[in-house]
């Protein structure tokens, strides 16, 4: 019972110290925002496709003009048009424009576009990609191709309707519907059935990972730095000279960091929601519990690092060595299944992997407790095991 009280005393003191440190407070709040905005915009998704400059050469007045209009009013998110159309004289001018980075892609419609359509020939448009920006390019091309295909389909439907009408003229009321024309044009359709409403974007995939990453690295460095700082300043002696349980010192410091971590996690989630439209499909409580257990799984490691490092700087540098590979291996950005086999095996040794995996299940798929209990158990065991090693080491090293 006393251990809990002591633990809380330490945590309270750490939080109070922290809350009064303006500079640390500001970096604490800005860091998740910064990371979130950075990663959010580095990885483009449909949401980022707005007001993209698109060079257009249109030499055709009828269908060509219609197609350009369709593209110019296209909206993927909110009220912003996806493309800002700029006119160029010809293909070379568009290529020039891309080189000068005036535009992120181009579209060329030749003068015989309408003519070919009317003569039942296949009309063509030319897409120009910007190879210097493959991610945006891919999105632009994909969007344009879909738009052009849909546009073509519209024309096709009209044509088939005309054809059907001319084959068997029927009374007004039983005019063939678009449906039958569509069925002829595209006899097989695909219907996507998702287990969650709406269409998840790449950001929904990475948001749980980014949150876990930010929170856990912050807690890990925060814990090690906080112990190292007290060691350096000599105040740790004041705590160590008291008869409280050494575990209470460690857990108290960890609790302070965990509370900070949860606040940062909440900031990340809020930003993900506000800026990138990420919604949580599962329970918030489960998300918080997963984060907490994820943090717990790291406490032992943080203690070990601060036990060996005598100075704050050494601790931070040591931790950076752990963190960097961890970010790539734990599946924050890429699905683990896409990694080579040996890397997958390493990934399974990192607790962050399980935390992210479980968070993704809950946040993206709306999974409940039963689907993540394995991960919860692994995180807990990992934390307990590392603590079981770290606490005796800490005790020994601290009086060395």
């Amino acid at each position: 019972m006393n251990t809990f009280k002591d633990l809380w005393q330490i945590a309270k003191k750490d939080l109070l110290e922290f809350a009064r440190d303006k500079l640390r407070l500001v970096t604490f709040l800005i860091m998740p925002m910064f990371m979130m905005i950075m990663t959010g915009f580095i990885f483009p998704n449909q949401n980022t496709l707005k007001n993209i400059s698109l060079g257009v050469t249109n030499q055709d007045s009828q269908y060509g003009q219609k197609l350009v209009e369709t593209i110019s009013v296209l909206k993927l998110t909110g009220n912003n048009p996806a493309f800002q159309i700029k006119s160029y004289a010809n293909l070379d001018a568009i290529k020039d424009g891309i080189k000068k980075q005036e535009i992120s892609g181009g579209l060329v419609i030749l003068e015989d576009f309408t003519q070919k359509v009317n003569q039942n020939q296949q009309a063509e448009v030319t897409l120009v990609e910007d190879p210097s920006n493959p991610q945006i390019s891919a999105l632009v091309s994909q969007t344009l191709m879909q738009t052009v295909a849909a546009f073509g389909q519209q024309i096709g439907i009209q044509k088939i309707n005309l054809l059907l009408n001319s084959l068997s003229p029927v009374p007004e009321q039983s005019q063939p519907k678009d449906n039958s024309a569509l069925a002829i044009l595209a006899p097989v359709g695909t219907k996507l059935e998702s287990i969650i409403p709406g269409n998840p974007n790449y950001f929904e995939f990475i948001a749980p990972g980014i949150m876990a990453m930010i929170v856990m690295t912050a807690v890990l460095t925060g814990l090690a730095a906080s112990i190292a700082r007290e060691k350096e300043q000599g105040t740790l002696d004041g705590i160590l000279i008291s008869p409280i349980n050494r575990l209470a010192i460690i857990l108290g410091k960890a609790l302070a960091q965990a509370i900070r971590g949860l606040i940062q996690g909440a900031i990340v989630l809020l930003l993900a929601f506000l800026l990138f439209g990420v919604t949580i499909h599962g329970s918030l409580f489960l998300v918080a519990s997963l984060l907490l257990l994820g943090i717990f799984s790291f406490v032992g490691l943080g203690i070990l690092v601060s036990a060996v490092a005598t100075e704050q700087e050494t601790a931070t540098q040591l931790l950076f060595m752990f963190q960097f590979p961890m970010l790539f291996l734990s599946g924050v950005f890429f699905p683990i299944l896409m990694m080579p086999r040996f890397m997958q095996q390493i990934a399974h040794l990192i607790p962050l992997t399980y935390a992210i995996n479980a968070l993704r299940k809950v946040m993206v798929l709306g999974a409940g407790l039963p689907s993540v209990q394995t991960e919860l158990l692994i995180l807990f065991l990992f934390g307990a095991a590392t603590l079981a090693v770290a606490v005796p080491v800490f005790k020994r090293v601290i009086t060395k």
């Binding site: 005393q9 109070l16 110290e17 002696d237 000279i241 008869p243």
Partner: protein, 276 residues
């Protein structure tokens, strides 16, 4: 070796601390009697702070033993902790906490009743003339103000023995005077004191007995008066004469292979290795 000697609050036997191959404290043996002020002197790097850290359970001895009120400092460290107070070389206070918050925090770590914490805080704060500052953050304090709160912190548990590692270092004459006066007062109230200082006058003025440690070994141990008899060349030798005669005039920080900057506030360098 006699244990449980009546009248001894602290008994130190062959206490040794090695850092790697370097022997910082070498077979140190001494007793401190209940109620005395024990001056613990020695040149820089002699091993004074290391000895204090071992006696206050912060550092594990390599060998030897020590008992405080018959509690073993290693095996019964929690018992020991309840009876000691420590004013270390570095001030043990959090800059971003107020004086009162600091005292409350450390008092709580010792599971003191809230009423005791309040009462003792009030008492020491008043005696040390810090009443106007008790709700200000320690970071805004001068060294002298910090040291006064630091001493109040060490006294929260009403310890039987107080370890003072250079308590007047870097303080102005006024604060130094106040603190010396206070040390005497505490001692009169029955608190045993182990005092480390580089100020020979302070040591002589306050201590009942003095031990001089050099290169990790105790090289002299007696009352100031008796120690002075060692010096034969002078008619009225000072404690400084004694100190210099015993420990020599060679400066300690020379002739070492390894010099590392310290984070300390006083000397640019601290010796990490010594040619023996």
């Amino acid at each position: 070796m006699t244990q449980n000697t009546i009248g001894n609050i602290l008994e130190v036997r062959n206490l040794t601390k090695k850092f790697g191959n370097f022997v910082a404290v070498d077979q140190v043996t001494f007793d401190i009697q209940k109620g005395e002020i024990f001056g613990f002197l020695g040149p820089n790097g002699a091993g004074k702070s290391t000895t204090i850290r071992m006696l206050t359970t912060l550092l594990r001895p390599t060998s030897g033993k020590a008992t405080l009120l018959n509690y073993d400092i290693v095996n019964q460290s929690d018992k020991v902790r309840k009876h000691i107070g420590l004013v270390a070389e570095k001030i043990i206070l959090y800059d971003r906490l107020t004086a009162r918050e600091n005292l409350e925090f450390f008092g709580n770590l010792f599971h003191l009743p809230q009423t005791d914490i309040k009462e003792r805080t009030r008492k020491w704060i008043a005696r040390l003339d810090m009443e106007n500052w008790v709700n200000a953050q320690v970071g805004t304090f001068s060294t002298g103000m910090k040291q006064r709160i630091n001493i109040a912190r060490a006294l929260l548990t009403e310890p039987d023995i107080l370890f003072l590692d250079e308590p007047t270092l870097g303080l102005d004459p006024q604060t130094t005077h106040l603190i010396r006066q206070f040390i005497r007062e505490l001692n009169e109230q029955g608190v045993t004191i182990l005092l480390t200082t580089h100020d020979m006058l302070e040591a002589e003025e306050l201590s009942n007995r003095i031990a001089i440690i050099d290169h990790g070994k105790i090289v002299a141990q007696d009352t100031a008066e008796n120690l002075k008899k060692i010096v034969s060349e002078k008619d009225h030798p000072t404690l400084e004469d004694v100190f210099l005669q015993i420990t020599g005039t060679q400066i300690r920080d020379t002739g070492n292979e390894r010099m590392t900057p310290t984070h300390g506030h006083r000397f640019g360098f601290r010796k990490t290795s010594r040619v023996r």
